[in-house]
């Protein structure tokens, strides 16, 4: 048979296979269950309360605390500088620029870690970057930073050093402070990120 005819048949049959293939969607950002489990095992997305206290005391401008509890709980108490995005509103168009951005380190927190972990999983699966979770949540924040437990006198020096740092942080966050400068600044909304970066290209 003529080579041309063979090639025509091959390519048309490949096209027919392409036409009958079921519609599938491959996403490079979505993690499989295994990958997600691995992320969780490695705990790379967790920011400890000590790290957070350090970041807050040094006034790190690159972090954004996001309270994922409801607004009532937020009104009662929230970490300094935190914004409130209740979990159910996480994907509201108004809030997307806050959770899908590349300039700041978002730290989700809730009372425990259930809500914040859920928020993290959702954003992770959507391929949003720079989202973290406060390890232990507010409960851990209170037990470790606000009222740290006094170690036993026989404990090693490192534990005492940590205790002293925590105590100092506790004073910083709860003790009397000099009257703060009147704060008229508002949290500026971030600039919405452009849709997922496509590989730019051209032709000949």
């Amino acid at each position: 048979m003529n080579t041309r005819i063979i090639f025509t048949i091959i390519v048309i049959s490949l096209g027919s296979i392409a036409a009958i293939l079921p519609k599938t969607k491959t996403s490079s950002t979505q993690l499989t269950a295994d990958e997600l489990l691995m992320e969780m095992k490695l705990q790379t997305y967790v920011v400890s309360t000590d790290e957070l206290a350090d970041l807050l005391i040094s006034n790190d401008p690159a972090i954004m605390l996001i309270d994922v509890r409801d607004s009532v709980a937020y009104q009662q108490y929230h970490l300094p500088g935190a914004i409130n995005i209740p979990l159910k509103d996480l994907l509201h168009p108004d809030w997307i620029p806050y959770v899908d951005q590349i300039s700041k380190k978002n730290i989700f927190y809730s009372n425990g870690t259930t809500l914040s972990n859920e928020a993290w999983i959702v954003t992770k699966q959507l391929g949003f970057r720079n989202n973290y979770v406060l390890g232990g949540g507010l409960n851990e924040w209170f037990s470790s930073i606000i009222s740290p437990e006094r170690p036993a006198s026989t404990d090693p020096n490192e534990i005492w050093a940590l205790y002293e740092t925590r105590k100092a942080a506790s004073m910083y966050f709860s003790g009397s402070k000099p009257a703060a400068r009147e704060d008229n600044s508002t949290i500026l909304p971030p600039i919405p990120r452009k849709k997922k970066t496509r590989v730019q290209g051209g032709c000949s």
Partner: protein, 200 residues
């Protein structure tokens, strides 16, 4: 141009090196396939040589089938594959200018460089003309900007416009291309010209 290897965070320099190596390969293949001869491109216009049509459509079909199968196997995310943005007006005007340039000059931008590389003087002039054209375009761009940016359609796929699945469009394109190849070969016989290579 984006990263050639977007999987890993490799440095820009390595990316450019990869681009350079791929570019060398591309140029070599173009030259070996005879594309540095302007008769190949002009032949498409006069109908005595449809190699260009075959090469471009074969490339399109190969790429298209590759993307569809890789997507089906879960190896590629079609959402982040670059789709050229469609500006209707500038596509039409640019297409006419480019087509005219093809038939007047006998080269496409890529083949002009391969031809210049093997020492063809007309190709060197063609490259020089392209650079002059780029310079003029850059200088008068503010005047053209409105027209250049008009009728923007975004990154669209023909299958989306037709409202059919990518796979059906692939089959359609393959059938059409095969028909074109067969008809083109009939045309090649009809408009056949004598081989003048020996005379040159």
């Amino acid at each position: 141009m984006g990263p050639i290897v977007p999987l890993f965070n490799i440095s820009n320099e390595i990316n450019l090196l990869m681009a350079f190596i791929i570019g060398l390969g591309f140029g070599f293949v173009l030259e070996q396939a005879g594309f540095s001869s302007s008769r190949k491109l002009a032949g498409m216009f006069y109908g005595y040589d449809i190699t260009v049509l075959k090469v471009f459509f074969t490339a399109a079909i190969t790429g298209m089938l590759g993307l569809i199968f890789l997507n089906f196997m879960g190896l590629i995310d079609l959402d982040i594959v670059y789709i050229n943005e469609y500006y209707v007006t500038s596509s039409i005007i640019g297409g006419v200018i480019m087509g005219a340039g093809f038939i007047i000059g006998g080269f496409c931008p890529g083949t002009s460089f391969t031809a210049a590389a093997i020492g063809k003087i007309d190709a060197m002039w063609f490259v020089f003309g392209s650079i002059v054209g780029i310079f003029i375009f850059g200088e008068v761009y503010p005047l053209l900007e409105t027209m250049y940016m008009s009728n923007y359609e975004g990154s669209v796929k023909i299958s989306t416009i037709l409202g059919i699945r990518d796979g059906y469009f692939a089959l359609l394109l393959i059938v059409v291309a095969s028909l074109m190849f067969w008809i083109g070969e009939i045309a090649e016989k009809k408009f056949k010209r004598e081989d003048i290579i020996d005379e040159i």
